[in-house]
């Protein structure tokens, strides 16, 4: 009796899991099928995969791989910088006393609530004034400080005992040294979860690169996908391939790091 219930229960879970991944599976299979097979009227649920041609075409007609590499570059660069600045600032908020600390941390927290719509128009104008349009400076420099990252690091660095830092100071270690040799190595989990978050956010960011970058060879993949859709709207095989190129790598990274990642989100909730 118990075992039947258990089996049924897990079958239900499995069906729900299947529903969750079906869109990805369908996308991947379609990306490996010729156009005629995808749009065939009265065809089966899933097209029959038979070719890598879509991926070849997408690369040759549209330079999708270049955009993929651009996105990879920007996302990794931003992620590395954000981790470094967030841990530095988080360290200062967690372990130093100074006037206005509460107020400044309040400002950091409130950035997480601020709608993009408020700052994006003035920032756009600012980038025009700075002459940073169509340059990666515009993508990276405004986003090197992350309120979310600072918050995460402040929480985790607060847990490190003061006496450990005091002992290092007595031995003559500078703050700079303490940060690199004690704080950073002890923050490995926070680094891992922030890394994945920040990477995803940079990877999927659409509006900012859409506004900033105009040359196609510098464009990022989210914007590229929409451009591709606009120009080759009926080349469904190509569209599925282009979409797969932007989704599958993220899923692979996620599968590799998912344990740390999910632990990171649950702890980041600040419960």
């Amino acid at each position: 009796m118990i075992s039947i219930r258990k089996a049924l229960f897990n079958v239900v879970l499995a069906i729900l899991a299947l529903v969750t991944v079906v869109p990805f599976v369908w996308m991947l299979i379609s990306s490996l099928s010729p156009n005629s097979e995808i749009v065939k009227i009265g065809g089966s649920l899933f097209p029959t995969p038979s070719t890598f041609q879509n991926y070849v075409d997408v690369h040759q007609n549209f330079n999708m791989l270049q955009m993929f590499v651009n996105s990879l570059f920007i996302s990794i660069l931003t992620t590395v910088i954000v981790i470094y600045t967030s841990s530095l600032v988080g360290f200062v908020f967690a372990k130093f006393k100074f006037r206005g600390r509460g107020l400044l941390f309040g400002v950091v927290l409130s950035t997480m609530m601020l709608p993009w719509a408020v700052t994006i128009i003035p920032r756009y104008e600012m980038m025009v004034d700075f002459g940073w349009l169509d340059s990666y400076k515009a993508l990276v420099i405004p986003s090197v400080i992350s309120g979310f990252g600072i918050f995460m690091f402040r929480q985790s660095i607060s847990q490190i005992s003061d006496s450990l830092l005091e002992a290092a100071r007595v031995d003559g270690a500078s703050d700079f040294f303490i940060f690199h040799k004690i704080i950073l190595p002890m923050s490995r989990n926070t680094i891992a979860s922030l890394a994945i978050f920040q990477f995803l956010w940079s990877w999927e960011d659409f509006l900012w690169p859409f506004l900033m970058i105009s040359s196609q060879d510098k464009q990022l993949i989210s914007v590229g996908l929409r451009m591709f859709n606009g120009r080759h709207g009926t080349d469904f095989g190509g569209l599925f391939a282009a979409t797969s190129i932007s989704i599958i790598p993220v899923i692979i990274v996620y599968i590799i790091f998912q344990k740390q990642f999910i632990a990171g989100i649950a702890s980041g909730s600040g419960k």
């Binding site: 879970l13 649920l45 400044l104 993009w116 400080i145 469904f236 419960k271």
Partner: protein, 286 residues
């Protein structure tokens, strides 16, 4: 004597400089800009007082966008929490096997890029070759039918985001005190009573956290609209953030767009504050 340019001060200084340039000034400029006739293409920036707000508040499209935004936010939050909580309870149950595997699968859509996922759903909804109509044998032109377009977008959003709520609720469930439930079991409480009178009230902080973060996210959502319907058919899927995007970067009415951004900002602040207040006062004694 301490140096002025020590480690701490340099970092605070750099933080303050970055915030001033990329945060404080833009916020000031958005508020100031909302009071101006502001068009960057023709270099216009003329003070007009509250004209922009007047214009926005008497505009029909703005009000249908507000209506659609609230429908979108309400149902997306509701189903995100419903599905997330349901799955969290299932995965927390002793009956579930391969918990780690299922958790990883359910969380997967949450980590995938929204632009790409929106495209996949455009094709899932396609009336000719889309999987949804084919599988259920339906004949609905989801994204071109004004009564189905918004529900279709909500459905896609819930599929994309329920994993986050699920992970949050799982965390909440695992933090619950075991002994209380054992005591309740001994006292003869059935599973439903346990859930309704103990689990659910105890999960209140988690629920509040998920509601507030979802609210902030969904009030600002526009990517799925931009990719899937561009506000159409008619005005049936215009939401306020998409309207701001269009006003600012299609029509370059920066002044009007800033006025709407200010309104959105106030809406988010008021709703968040109200939620905190309600939940603080209505705390159930346990």
């Amino acid at each position: 004597m301490q140096k002025i340019f020590n480690f701490k001060n340099v970092i605070i200084l750099l933080l303050v400089i970055h915030f001033s340039i990329f945060l404080i000034y833009p916020i000031y400029k958005a508020f100031a800009g909302s009071l101006h006739d502001w068009n960057p293409l023709i270099g216009q920036y003329d003070f007009v007082g509250f004209e922009n707000f007047k214009h926005v508040l008497t505009n029909n499209l703005f009000w249908s966008a507000i209506r659609n935004t609230f429908i979108f936010v309400f149902f997306s939050v509701l189903f995100r929490i419903g599905v997330g909580l349901g799955l969290a309870v299932m995965l927390h149950s002793k009956l579930a096997k391969f918990k780690g595997f299922f958790r990883a699968i359910f969380y997967m859509p949450t980590v995938t890029p929204l632009v790409a996922v929106s495209f996949v759903w455009v094709w899932l909804y396609d009336p000719q070759f889309g999987l949804i109509n084919k599988f259920f044998g339906l004949d609905i032109n989801w994204l071109r039918d004004s009564s189905w377009a918004l529900p279709a977008i909500i459905m896609m959003t819930v599929w994309k985001d329920f994993g986050y709520a699920m992970v949050m609720f799982l965390g909440g469930l695992m933090a619950l005190p075991e002994d209380v439930f054992e005591a309740a079991n001994i006292d003869g409480a059935n599973r439903w009573q346990c859930f309704w009178y103990m689990t659910w009230p105890l999960l209140k902080p988690t629920t509040l956290f998920v509601v507030i973060t979802s609210l902030i996210t969904y009030l600002q959502a526009y990517v799925q609209i931009l990719i899937m319907t561009e506000g159409g058919p008619g005005t049936s899927t215009y939401v306020i953030s998409y309207l701001i995007f269009e006003e600012a970067f299609v029509r370059y009415n920066f002044g009007l767009a800033s006025a709407m951004a200010v309104i959105l900002f106030v809406m988010i602040a008021v709703l968040t504050a109200a939620l905190f207040k309600i939940s603080g006062e209505g705390e159930m004694p346990l």
